[in-house]
Subunit: 283 residues, 2 copies
């Protein structure tokens, strides 16, 4: 876990201030809900997301955590940003967290500062990073608490391991990265092999890149199919993978086997932590 | 354009140092080229990318710029990181640049510090941000210079507008975000409507999300199809868009028309700058 040792708090706050400024001016291929001519509105303190919001501005709490996989956050966040959502990047402190890419992300909002009721609670993945938090009382308490009132409880990739450990998936169908999907059952969830799985107000995405499909799915639920399609057109989401190796079912067996043997120990870690979390939930 | 006014240089450098540290420990679903047990190697100063690289470690120079669209950078960078590439986030200075999401990215390498010869020169998009740089002499000079020796000259989304303005696409087939693809012709390129377009050593991706398809295409060229397929499996890239609105050809006409009328003035700006750039290239 990396922090801005130099000056606790300040870097995060300074970056958050820059963010608020830029969010007001960050011109970009526009979403349906704002026009190029719209004068940017001020951003509520502690939030990101482009300005010029309409009356309906969903509150999104996105957990950020050390070793988070950047794509897990950015895929859905790109969609939420185009929807002019009120986006909170939430963590224990405002200290920047280091992602797997070596790029830091500054939280905008601490657990304590996060709105009591959010429209969307979202947890990104990153296998090692999420495993490390599966028994972090402070993180699980925050997720369980906001999960009581959130309109949608969501995740991408291995983020569902944290939702599960927080007791938010018991009796719900859910998915995760293919490597650890089955471990969800140890925490009372019903693992489903699908790109995006919705069961009542729980919506979970598959591995890493599924976050884009998840984001567009949620955009249609929060706003409208028309807005989701507008965003899909803006981000030109007409994927054309050069190969067909995106799932263990379609990838060459030798590649799947090599990957599993390399990550076997980590997957076993996830299994053991899921087992402990499952036991704790039964108490 | 936003900078860390607080203390020029320091924030960027500090963040870069954190990055180098984390890059060495950023455990994640592993790529083929490194095993979970591999002891992380130190990262060369001024670079990102996970450690534990094999002998063949491609040098990638990725331009970062204000109002850059984060997904344009993160899609390909996620792939390059799993390939254990030596990744340089290059800009005029080390001051963090603000992306459209309100998240800042700290350059790791200035134009002056960038290796003379790179394997890949990459430019991400962000319509307003790239238009603003189409007549920025310092940026165009850097791109034209490294473009002389780069093994591959590449872009995602509207990044190709900058490659074009730098004179790197004259006589080459290329693509861009669908809104401005045709403007490439004004700078001597041959616009092609495809997800990823390769013409000799020029490889350009379509809008925003095409960066993932581009990254996997390049991974196969730089390493092997097997490595590209391994990465595709790691990031579970088996896309399943909930709607079919990813291109103007498939999206509802009303949505395309509304978007074009909203962004019309900006697209016109791009056309005029492309025209001027084209004239300058003829001199």
């Amino acid at each position: 876990m990396t922090m801005d040792q130099g000056e606790p708090g300040n870097a995060g706050r300074r970056q958050f201030l820059q963010s608020a400024v830029a969010a007001g001016v960050g011109g970009y291929l526009m979403s349906q809900s704002a026009g190029a001519q719209t004068a940017p509105k001020p951003i509520p303190p502690g939030t990101l997301g482009a300005a010029g919001a309409g009356p309906d501005r969903p509150k999104i709490a996105m957990l950020v955590h050390p070793k988070m996989v950047m794509q897990d956050l950015i895929g859905p966040m790109t969609v939420f940003n185009l929807m002019r959502c009120e986006i909170h990047l939430v963590w224990k402190t405002r200290e920047p967290v280091m992602t797997e890419l070596g790029i830091t992300v500054a939280p905008t909002t601490t657990f304590a500062e996060c709105p009591e009721v959010v429209d969307v609670l979202f947890v990104p993945g990153g296998l090692d990073g999420t495993i490390a938090l599966m028994d972090d009382a402070e993180v699980l308490k925050f997720l369980a608490d906001r999960g009581k009132t959130a309109r949608y409880i969501t995740s991408d990739c291995t983020g569902s391991l944290l939702l599960g450990a927080a007791g938010l998936l018991q009796g719900y169908k859910a998915t995760s990265h293919w490597m650890v999907r089955d471990e969800l059952a140890l925490m009372g969830a019903i693992p489903v092999h699908d790109r995006v799985v919705q069961d009542r107000n729980r919506i979970t995405g598959g591995g890493v890149t599924a976050g884009i499909d998840f984001g567009l799915t949620l955009a249609a639920l929060l706003r409208s199919r028309e807005e989701a399609e507008t965003i899909q057109l803006v981000i030109e989401y007409a994927p054309a993978p050069p190969f067909d190796a995106g799932t263990p079912e379609t990838a060459p067996k030798a590649i799947v086997d090599r990957l599993m043997s390399r990550r076997g120990p980590t997957v076993e870690q996830a299994r053991q932590k899921a087992q402990r979390a499952g036991r704790a939930l039964k108490r």
